[in-house]
């Protein structure tokens, strides 16, 4: 089954998916104002006029994602002739993807290739003579998207998903067998096995979805926090780390926002040093905005660099400080000013990596870089045939599949009849199929039934 929906609210990043000063996200559709308003902290957007721009914050569960400018274009005075909201964020791919994720959660759908233009056309923006150009655009965009998808699939996604989908199809076939051939001498789907299979599939989906976060990290940068007491040498460290990377520091001049990012690329992987605004000043984070703020920074990070002055602090103090860092964060402890202390570092003092550096003398920095890289690579905990989902569309399909599988599990728990359960199963199959390119779910199910079971009188 295939749907083209003219009334969904669609969203996409309108600027190239790369690091730039500003990234624009475009939302179009009936609900676009409502959806954006629901995550916007500032004026009530619903009460604003068309063609106005508003400053505010995008907020998800009390976390400020970014400070943004929102432009409103109210139907029919917009590109698509629908309600359109354009959100200008900071140009970090990480932020852009976070915002997209949030909008999807709130009910948007990712736009298909060329869909904004298509809507614009269908709503009468262009005349017929431009139809061909629009059609070509859609076709070529879709080819490009297809090519990208295919490339990604060669990496193993199709294979893994096809496997996943096949086990679901067999399960669904069993259910369908019960429904269509229940009068005959057929085997019945063992509900307990089904439940454990569903959980196995959910685990798999979870693994793939988390790999999206990893994949995204590769694309959009691994968030790293540098914390430590005042005067531990954090700003010096930051300067040394990003020195040679000046060219891609996306410092937006003239702003006072605290989301300015310093970035560093190690062997193709992008690291973003978050909340470094304070570090750039002479005063340190903890000093300036307090412990709470420091905790928030740690929360956002994937890797935490804890820097201490080995000439001032003793290790017991450091270990205590480390205790406040959540367990799921990867921590590297840096004993700074090693040039002064020459203190011996005992590697296995804690499970945390503990290295000695001298920010001033630029020693130990390469070790740190190697360690950062290692932390990211080990994060993708599967080995060489690791599958990384980097495509937002695939991610969305996985999420929808998971939702459908949750419905199946709920249905099984309530002992609801399998014809209803099958409805959700097929939904899951359709979403998984939208990634692997196999959409004719019913045909696949019937083929499995006929191939595997002796049915028919």
């Amino acid at each position: 089954m295939f749907n083209v929906d003219f009334e969904d609210t669609i969203v996409a990043i309108a600027t190239p998916n790369a690091i730039g000063a500003i990234g624009v996200i475009r939302v179009s559709g009936k609900e676009s104002l409502n959806i954006v308003n629901s995550i916007f902290e500032g004026k009530n957007l619903l009460a604003q006029k068309s063609h106005t721009i508003h400053l505010g914050k995008l907020v998800a569960a009390n976390e400020i994602i970014d400070e943004v400018l929102v432009s409103l274009f109210i139907a029919p005075n917009s590109y698509t002739k629908e309600n359109v909201v354009e959100i200008s964020c900071h140009g970090s791919p990480y932020i852009l993807n976070r915002v997209i994720e949030l909008l999807l959660e709130k009910g948007c759908r990712l736009a298909r290739a060329g869909e904004f233009t298509q809507r614009a056309y269908l709503n009468g923006r262009f005349d017929l003579s431009q139809a061909e150009a629009v059609a070509d655009l859609i076709a070529s965009d879709s080819q490009a998207a297809h090519k990208i998808a295919m490339q990604q699939m060669r990496g193993g996604i199709t294979h893994k998903l096809a496997e996943l989908r096949q086990s679901l199809i067999e399960f669904t076939a069993l259910i369908e067998l019960e429904l269509d051939f229940g009068e005959e001498d057929v085997e019945f789907a063992n509900r307990e096995k089904l439940i454990s299979l569903l959980h196995a599939i959910k685990d798999e989906i979870y693994r793939l979805s988390s790999s999206f976060k990893f994949g995204n990290a590769i694309k959009t940068g691994v968030p790293v926090a540098i914390v430590g007491k005042p005067n531990a040498g954090k700003s010096t460290l930051l300067n040394i780390l990003v020195q040679e990377e000046r060219a891609i520091v996306s410092d937006i001049a003239g702003t006072t926002r605290d989301t300015i990012e310093e970035t560093l690329t190690i062997e193709g992987i992008l690291f973003r040093f978050i909340d470094t605004a304070g570090l750039r000043d002479t005063t340190d984070v903890i000093e300036k905005i307090g412990v709470e703020r420091s905790k928030e920074t740690i929360q956002k990070a994937q890797i935490v660099l804890y820097l201490y002055d080995s000439s001032q602090e003793n290790k017991t103090e450091v270990v205590q400080a480390l205790n406040v860092i959540p367990k799921d964060k990867k921590v590297i402890v840096l004993a700074n000013k090693h040039d002064i202390t020459q203190d011996a570092i005992i590697q296995n003092e804690t499970s945390t990596d503990w290295i000695a550096i001298s920010a001033k003398e630029n020693t130990g920095i390469q070790t740190l870089k190697d360690l950062l890289l290692q932390k990211v690579l080990e994060d993708n905990n599967t080995t060489q045939d690791a599958i990384v989902i980097t495509n937002q569309r695939h991610y969305e399909a996985l999420q929808l599949s998971e939702q459908a599988i949750d419905n199946v599990l709920a249905g099984l728990q309530q002992q609801i009849s399998s014809d209803f359960i099958s409805q959700d199963l097929k939904t899951a199959l359709r979403h998984l199929g939208s990634i692997t390119g196999s959409i004719d779910v019913d045909k696949d199910i019937l083929a499995t039934i006929f191939g595997k079971f002796c049915i028919g009188k």
């Binding site: 083209v4 929906d5 017929l128 059609a135 859609i138 229940g182 097929k426 002796c454």
Partner: protein
């Protein structure tokens, strides 16, 4: 000697009969031409109607005003509602019919339908002028003129019957095959193919030992197929179940070297879901037994249909194997099973109205389109009859949507996807299974049929009553609150939590353990409010409430699908001129000429991107 007819229906099987009824009841002058008036509505295979998905189709035919449901109700010898342990969408009525009574009752109903004439003769040729059919020429050389023709030739076109190494021409056991039409159609540009189906041996019931078999009784309450109140039989007959075993399989294997299937003498593809017994043994070698359903052919005959034992092995092998089945030790055979090969025309050559794309006013219905099953055939016949009537009045074709009826799924699948093996309906083919239930076929279809002049007023009145009553019941259930003291005792016996406070009746009805009819029986205060309503209406309301979430989810999907479903495409649209379409899409669209964007989207090889491109060209 013939008047000018509006519609000539060729063939009087299940498709032909329904086609004649539909066209005639709507007001067309109809001639029903059949090779043999003694075999009108013959049940060539299993003497049963309905079953999973097929029962739903039968209810839909009835809701439209067709006769199959009524004839089945009048002639059934056993009724069962299958799948009752599952959700309401799976409930499927099935009946064992009296084969002879079925034929006689159909014939009687046809004879009592004004506007239908009969002619017993073989139709050899179509009369075609300027790309439009205008009558038929018969074996006796008569020319009969009409404005439209519905072909329902079943398995008769160049039919060949196979039993072991023997083969002979025939459309059914003991009946001649029909020749000429395929050759003419191919000459006119149609593509034809071969298909295969089979049937089991018939046995003398007096020679069986039923004590060795398991009895299968009918339901105590007969729901039936027709939404009209048809008197049901008072007494039912039982069926029996037995099993094959290793010895049976070993004997059957000795016939494999003479099997027309395995030796390649049969070219046509048979249905995978209706395999012959030799096919089952061959493909599922690890299964040491297969179920055999022993079904009486009627009330007043000893003839038995051995369901599950379809075969085309040599008759002596069939016989020897049969006698090794428990209860069949002394079996006497009336006639052996056989396989039959016949011509069909890939249904992608049809419009959704079932009119052929090549010849105007010519319609195909039933096995000629590659389907199998009485119900599938009858459904197509009815739709072809309706649309033959309408096309000659230049009225728009009636096309049921996939979200409206299994009949819509059936025809949409045939026309858009085609079929390589005989097509049978399964509930899993329908994406809106929960909406397409047997209990609401009348709510889905009667009004539409009444509007086009097919379903009679009486049916419409009944549907209006059902709607009104169901709405009233639902409203009551949603508004009424139940006192714990009134229901707690009953809830406890049903294994569901008693109430702490007053609770909306809706919430109680929503519990899976609770059935509305039983609830009324045990809670007098509810019975006082709702007891006056008919059972059918109460159940309808219950389904709406219990499964509201799931039903709503499907409605939402229907609405989404309708948006592209309703976008029209011109049949003469030049797809080849659109370079933005993929090459495969251009070819398939040119060949299949879909009438709507939705239809185009279901053609294999047409991608979502192609659909987007088409939308752009369609403009707004």
């Amino acid at each position: 000697m013939f008047q000018q007819y509006d519609v000539i229906v060729v063939g009087a099987g299940h498709a032909g009969c329904e086609a004649a009824v539909a066209a005639a009841k709507m007001g067309s002058k109809v001639l029903l031409a059949t090779m043999n008036m003694q075999t009108i509505a013959q049940m060539s295979c299993n003497p049963a109607m309905g079953g999973v998905a097929k029962g739903q189709i039968l209810r839909e035919i009835d809701a439209m005003g067709g006769y199959s449901g009524i004839v089945t109700d009048k002639t059934m010898i056993q009724f069962r509602m299958l799948n009752q342990s599952k959700g309401p969408a799976m409930w499927s009525p099935r009946a064992q019919s009296d084969r002879m009574q079925f034929h006689l009752t159909w014939r009687e109903m046809l004879e009592n339908t004004p506007n239908i004439d009969f002619w017993q003769d073989m139709v050899r040729e179509l009369l075609v002028e300027d790309g439009r059919v205008c009558g038929v020429r018969t074996g006796m050389g008569m020319e009969i003129r009409s404005k439209a023709v519905v072909l329902t030739n079943g398995t008769f076109l160049n039919g060949i019957i196979h039993i072991g190494e023997k083969q002979f021409g025939g459309g059914r056991a003991g009946e001649k095959a029909s020749k000429g039409i395929t050759e003419q159609l191919v000459a006119l540009g149609f593509e034809s193919g071969r298909m295969k189906t089979g049937t089991p041996p018939r046995i003398d019931g007096r020679s069986l030992d039923y004590s060795k078999m398991e009895v299968q009784d009918g339901d105590t309450e007969i729901v039936g197929f027709s939404f009209k109140n048809i008197e049901k039989p008072k007494e039912q007959r039982c069926c029996w179940i037995t099993n094959t075993n290793d010895t049976v399989h070993e004997i059957l294997k000795t016939g494999f070297e003479k099997s027309p299937m395995f030796q390649g003498r049969i070219q046509g593809l048979g249905p995978r879901y209706c395999p012959s017994i030799e096919d089952k043994i061959n493909r599922f070698a690890d299964k040491d037994r297969h179920q055999i359903f022993v079904e009486p052919e009627g009330r007043n005959t000893v003839e038995i249909y051995v369901n599950g034992f379809s075969t085309s092995l040599p008759e002596d092998v069939q016989y020897k194997a049969l006698t090794q089945i428990p209860g069949f030790e002394k079996a006497k055979m009336f006639r052996p099973g056989y396989a039959i090969e016949y011509d069909y025309f890939p249904p992608t050559q049809l419009n959704l109205s079932l009119e052929t794309k090549l010849i105007k006013n010519l319609f195909f219905a039933g096995q000629i389109n590659g389907t199998t099953g009485y119900e599938e055939a009858a459904a197509q016949g009815m739709m072809a009859g309706i649309n033959a009537h309408r096309v000659i009045r230049e009225e728009e074709a009636v096309v049921l949507k996939r979200s409206e009826a299994y009949i819509g799924v059936l025809i949409d699948d045939l026309v858009n996807k085609g079929t390589e093996e005989p097509y049978r309906m399964f509930t899993s083919r329908a994406e809106f299974r929960i909406l397409l239930r047997q209990d609401n076929a009348d709510l889905r279809l009667t009004e539409l049929s009444h509007k086009i002049g097919f379903a009679e007023q009486e049916r419409m009145d009944r549907v209006n009553d059902k709607r009104k009553a169901t709405d009233e019941i639902i409203q009551f259930i949603k508004e009424y609150s139940v006192e714990p003291s009134d229901v707690d005792a009953y809830l406890t016996t049903q294994g569901t939590t008693p109430l702490m406070h007053k609770m909306k009746l809706e919430k109680i009805i929503s519990r899976p353990q609770i059935g509305i009819l039983d609830l009324l029986e045990h809670v007098p205060v509810l019975k006082a409010h709702l007891g006056a309503y008919e059972k059918e209406f109460l159940e309808q309301a219950e389904i709406s409430i219990k499964y509201e979430g799931y039903i709503q989810k499907e409605y939402d999907q229907v609405q989404k699908m309708d948006k592209i479903e309703n976008v029209r495409l011109k049949p003469d649209f030049d797809y080849m001129a659109l370079p933005s379409l993929s090459i495969e899409a251009r070819q398939k669209l040119t060949k299949l000429k879909p009438l709507t964007l939705g239809q185009a989207s279901r053609i294999s090889g047409v991608s979502p991107a192609d659909i987007s491109v088409l939308m752009v060209y369609l403009g707004r």
